[in-house]
Amino acid sequence: MLHRHNLLRSIATLLVLLVILAAIYALWIRYQVEPVTRDGKVRADMVPVAADVSGLVTEVRVADNGEVKRGDVLFVIDRPRYRIALEQAQAVLASQQAALAQAVREDRRNRAMTDVIAAEAIEQGRARVEELRAAIGQASAARDLARFNLERTIVRAPVDGTVSNVSLQPGVYLTAGKPALALVYTRSMRVEGYFEETKLPAIRVGDPASVYLMGVADEIKGHVESIAGGVEDRERAGADGQLANVNPSFTWVRLAQRIPVRIAIDAIPANVRMIPGQTATVVVHPRDDGRAVRRSLPW
């Protein structure tokens, strides 16, 4: 009787142990293997709009956070100065043309009277014509450049988007190439999920995905557009062409690295606004296409 009782106790205890292991396995699959991450961000490409010519800002035609279409005027730089520069270039060109006309007349006259004019003087006259022709080419290029600069004083939006962080005011002096405001390219909006590398084998390009913005209940539908081609090797320093410099680390604990997975947005619910930088939870639903991913167990 006692013997049978002991056997029963052993079996019951074993069963309990099995239940514990099964539950831990299920939890591990749910939280460590299924392709879900809370580490996602809404992202969009940004164009730092810079002036192509230096000068005082005379007019700002956008308000902060305003939406602009491609080609809309954002701000205007000191047009009078560049208009004067154009007039100057035109005047230089006109004066060169006048000088050329005179030189051509002189040259023609000299060549008609070869008996009285020294050969040297005739040659000098011809060289003068050629010099002036070259000078006119230069002056005409300078005029075109001045006209181009005048056009570039009107800074236009290069893409559709939303201007952001605008603190530009008339009177600010902008140097060429210095970004004056940020333009967020709205159409490039996407979500990037930073997935642990351990979860990556389950993700394929084209898998449907759900995105939940922090604090927003509505689901944003999307699909996996692409997976990053590479991430930085943190154990290794040194540029190309140098010898490898590998960090002499000995780690008991290692963490899975994060690989960016790009989620294209298919449908945004009405009234949900996506702002680049927002935090998002990304859930990828692997398609049942017969793929075989051999998961390694926790060891």
Partner: protein, 74 residues
């Protein structure tokens, strides 16, 4: 899938919340379970409680994923 739960603006992983819930449930269920005859069959009663905790943890996670729509807690 419920991934995170916020309590007064602090976003916590859902797994942590379900673990706390499972622990509280196990604590409450201890007394009634001790009266069951199966309890005498076990070498280590605490092992049974651990199993119950793990099961409840997984059960809460799975049922929350299935039943709770987004926006109820998360």
């Amino acid at each position: 899938m419920i991934e995170e739960i916020h309590v007064l603006g602090v976003y916590m992983p859902a797994a942590l919340v379900w673990a706390i819930g499972a622990a509280v449930l196990v604590y409450l269920l201890r007394v009634p379970i001790q009266r069951l005859p199966i309890y005498r069959l076990l070498w280590h009663p605490s092992l049974f409680e651990l199993a119950l905790f793990a099961l409840l943890w997984w059960g809460l996670s799975a049922s929350a994923d299935l039943l709770l729509p987004h926006g109820v807690l998360s």
